[in-house]
Amino acid sequence: MSETVKLTRKDFVSDQMVRWCPGCGDYAILAQVQKVLPELGIPKEKFVMVSGIGCSSRFPYYMNTYGMHSIHGRAAPIATGLKIANPDLSVWVITGDGDALSIGGNHFIHLMRRNVDLNIILFNNRIYGLTKGQYSPTSPQGLKTKSSPMGSLEQPLNPIALAIGAEATFVARTVDTHLKHMGQVLLRAAAHKGTSFVEIYQNCVIFNDGTFEYATDPAKRVENTVELEHGKPLIFGKNRDKGIRLNGLEPEIVSLDTVEEKDLLVHNETASPSLAYLLSQMRYPQLPEPMGIFRCVEPPSYEKQIHDQVETAIGLKGKGDLHKLYYAIDTWEVPQKVEG
């Protein structure tokens, strides 16, 4: 089975009933992942989906791959251990805004800086779905929910900014309704050697319907988002007639009627992270929100370095020998007693 049989979407559909609410954005993401994985040329048995707890975290059950639905917030370390154990696997972490950024926040930042070769997909619906609708770390300030009847008081986390603040090597954003874009981003994430972090704006029809409508509705999307392309200036709008220019460190919207393309901010995935951070600060409604790959650089991945150290150690000391190991410090011999 590990010969290169051409895999299809169907190969990735498990026999378990999908149990999300009708209309949930999770369906589109599932479908897109099932579409992208067969395109990677990786045998099916090499894929592992690891998730935490949340609506989104039921994902592995629906994929006919290896998988683990673990505990809340802990998918990142579990996936890290798995990848260290077997770097051959293609490991995907499926998580939610609560799972990754609330209870799992510590693992999230440490995964970023370690740069383990994993792919994280964060289903950001700005709400706790599975526990029936409390505000999450990405909920907008003022959001009224069951646990914030007078409005949430907390400044939301910006997942992209946090990832960049934590030394992420691959950071991207897409939306549940833009299938083509999601597909492209997922392909790039899969190709990146190191931690690939993808935030997906996902609609929760039940508890936070329409929270990202400005970016998910195709008509509004073109006005309220801008697609990042490496080496290209930031242009957006239905007629692609608007661009982003830097005024000092402040991005501003300019009309291409009056400003030339060459004066626009040009995207560079491999630039210093200051650019990626700056882009993360472009927020609706003041500015169009960037979509696509914010940053992509490739220092060696963590598990690779672990393996390199193992190799180096073997090179230096030879393959471990238990006998030698036991005798590695001062030893002494107690001779056979000669009874007399």
Binding site: M1, S2, Q16, K44, E45, K46, V48, M49, V50, I53, P60, Y61, M63, N64, Y66, G67, M68, H69, S70, I71, R74, A76, P77, I78, A79, T80, G81, L82, K83, I84, A85, N86, D88, L89, N106, H107, H110, I306, V310, A313, I314, L316, K317, G318, K319, G320, L322, H323, L325, Y326, Y327, I329, D330, T331, W332, E333, V334, P335, Q336, K337
Partner: protein, 628 residues
């Protein structure tokens, strides 16, 4: 080497304690004495005692660091109760340790350090050298600092700080002379250690020799003592701490299974040294992961176990608390995993550098829902080696996490270890399932009748794709199931498979008569003192038996029967009666359990146990079970 001026006396065992400031190198001095004695052929047992601060202010009680060695021509099991000899580098060291010294014991102290300032720092209002405090001891006053300076002044090119740092070797030299030890082991060590700093090497060697010569030349000691080599089982030996033994055992288990070893851990006293040791063994394909916290460490271990390698996570009590949710996931997933708890004084941060056995109930019960996990506890530092291997045998057999319950005393104590031949250690055989036959559906949670475990199917195997999860499960398929019957069945199966490990756990043995008035039941690190105390009482002609438990969950099959033969069962523990608690449940028909509790961050002494057990032998307790 014989010295005409001194008389020799043969003694069976001596307990010596080195004490000084945290920066005085007492741990090193003690270690050197130990190594020399071990190589010389004595049986040895050591116990370091240091503060939880790294280097508290010089000269204060808080900063005193000590190291105790028991060395003997006979079999010994503990670092000894009261030291016979105390080497005190300053007033604080004297003050902190004097109470422990045996009445009439020997004190060697550095008079140069007994300045007004140092006396004050140590909290002495009068100079103990002058006010009769030490009149009932054999006091040897040595101006160590100045003697050492004089000895080293020839070398040149050394700062006075560097010179003073050699003081400990001067002191070591004196003790070497006093106990007639050869210098060569330490000479060799110094040479290797300071290979790149020949001046420092020369200085330390000179100090050592000068101390030795001082003993020889200055007639402050009437007698030299001679401790013959012990009659140890023949073979190769080395010194080992419990933590090192765990590390070696884990690597051995992995090698014996043809597996990579994964160790995920967040540093914590007194478990960190396991991580440090394993980090140096990368050439055994050991992959260490210093996690961001304990939750990540157990998570990574679960991931590694899923990945099909030998996964271990180690910590102390506070870390176990944090890991309990993860451990519970491993219980539910049914993945093999070893979890080490090196217990320390609690609750909370408690006494982080001291020992205790009060995590037993936590590892047994500290998880939500019904969550059975096997537990094994090593008895001695070198037993840690065997327990590490045994833990993996149980883990892969029942497909379950397994606890190893060590403690701060085992972790840091040393004893000689009879080095095994690795080829004599039986392999651990694991068969991972491969592609299933086309007719049968792969059932990840199908039980193996002999063990009630499941198969260990690992990602990367074509055709076995499956999902594990923490939700309640359908038997065999492992699919999510909210069916009440499924949940109850799976809960019972998990309990049964752990209980079934008793099939392969050796029956409990005891020393002493198999029935009678008094049985002592111990577990874990108290082994040495309990066994020694029982031996003392038996030698006195008392009728007393001793069973030491290594398997705490499940218990050996014969335990209730074995216990039922005795009128009273005494359980000495470094807690408020946790094992006694479990025994009471497990051995329901026995009613007269008696606790001996200690919560002082220190192991039992043989003496206190002899007294307490002796008292019980005189005055039998009422058989009404009201003794807890």
């Amino acid at each position: 080497m014989a010295d005409p001026n001194a008389t020799y006396q043969d003694v069976q065992a001596v307990i010596i304690r080195f004490a000084g400031d945290s920066g005085d190198g007492m741990q090193l001095t003690g270690t050197q004495f130990t190594d020399t004695s071990a190589v010389y052929g004595n049986d040895i047992s050591t116990f370091p005692d240091f503060p939880s601060e790294i280097r508290a202010p010089i000269g204060t009680l808080a900063g005193v660091s000590g190291f105790q060695i028991n060395f003997s021509s006979e079999d010994i099991l503990t670092p000894g109760d009261a030291p016979n000899v105390l080497v005190a580098m300053n007033p604080a060291a004297l003050k902190a340790n004097l109470d422990d010294l045996e009445r009439g014991g020997t004190i060697i102290l550095n008079t140069d350090a007994f300045t007004e300032g140092n006396l004050k720092k140590a909290g002495y209002h009068h100079n103990p050298l002058k006010d009769g405090t030490l009149s009932s001891y054999q006091l040897h006053e040595v101006p160590l600092t100045s003697l050492n300076r004089t000895a080293l002044k020839e070398i040149g090119g050394l700062s006075s700080k560097e010179i003073d740092r050699c003081q400990n070797f001067f002191a070591l030299g004196i003790t070497f002379w006093l106990f007639d030890r050869p210098l060569n082991t330490s000479f060799k060590w110094i040479k290797e250690k300071f290979a790149k700093q020949p001046k420092i090497a020369q200085a330390n060697q000179t100090a050592l020799q000068a101390g030795y010569d001082y003993g020889n030349n200055v007639q402050i000691f009437q007698t030299r003592y001679h401790i013959k080599p012990a009659h140890l089982q023949p073979g190769g030996y080395r010194k080992i701490t419990g933590n090192d033994a765990l590390a070696l055992g884990l690597v051995t288990a992995a090698q014996k299974a043809g597996k990579t070893l994964f160790y995920g851990s967040y540093p914590i006293t007194p478990a960190s040294d396991i991580l440090h040791m394993l980090a140096t063994l990368k050439h055994f394909d050991v992959r260490t992961f210093q996690a961001e916290d304990e939750i990540s460490a157990i998570g990574a271990a679960i991931g590694a176990a899923f990945g099909g390698i030998f996964a271990v996570t180690g910590t102390s009590g506070p870390g176990i608390a944090l890991k309990s949710e993860g451990i519970n996931l491993a219980v539910m997933l049914e993945l093999p995993l070893v979890i080490i708890d090196v217990q320390r004084g609690g609750p909370s941060t408690g006494l982080p550098t001291k020992t205790e056995q009060a995590d037993l109930l936590q590892v047994m019960f500290g998880r939500h829902g019904e969550s059975p996990v096997p537990i094994i506890a090593p008895a001695t530092p070198s037993d840690c080696f065997n327990v590490a291997i045994e833990a993996f045998r149980l883990a892969v057999r029942a497909m379950t996490p397994v606890f190893i319950l060590s403690d701060g005393y085992l972790a840091n104590s040393t004893e000689p270890w009879l080095i095994p031949n690795p080829d004599d250690i039986p392999p651990i055989i694991i068969e991972h399932p491969t592609a299933p036959s086309t007719t049968e559906k792969f059932l990840p949670y199908k039980r193996i009748p002999e063990t009630l475990g499941r198969s260990w199917s690992i990602p990367g195997t074509p055709g076995l794709e499956h999902r594990l999860g923490g939700l309640a499960k359908q038997p065999e398929t492992g699919n999510v199931s909210y069916d009440p019957k499924d949940n109850e069945q799976m809960n019972r199966e998990r309990a049964d498979k752990v209980a079934k490990l008793a099939d392969i756990i050796p029956e409990q043995t005891l020393i002493g008569p198999t029935s009678g008035k008094l049985l002592v039941v111990s577990w874990g690190s108290t082994y040495g003192s309990v066994r020694s105390a029982v031996k003392v009482l038996q030698a006195q002609g008392q009728t007393i038996s001793h069973a030491h438990l290594r398997y705490l969950n499940p218990f050996p099959r014969n335990l209730p029967d074995l216990i039922s033969g005795f009128e009273q069962v005494v359980v000495p523990e470094m807690n408020l009666g946790q094992m006694l608690f479990i025994l009471r449940i497990h051995c329901k028909s026995h009613r007269n359990f008696i606790p001996i509790s200690k919560l002082k961050g220190q192991p039992f002494t043989i003496k206190e146990l002899v007294e307490k057990l002796g008292a019980l032998l005189l005055v039998p307790q009422k058989v009404n079970g009201d003794n807890l």
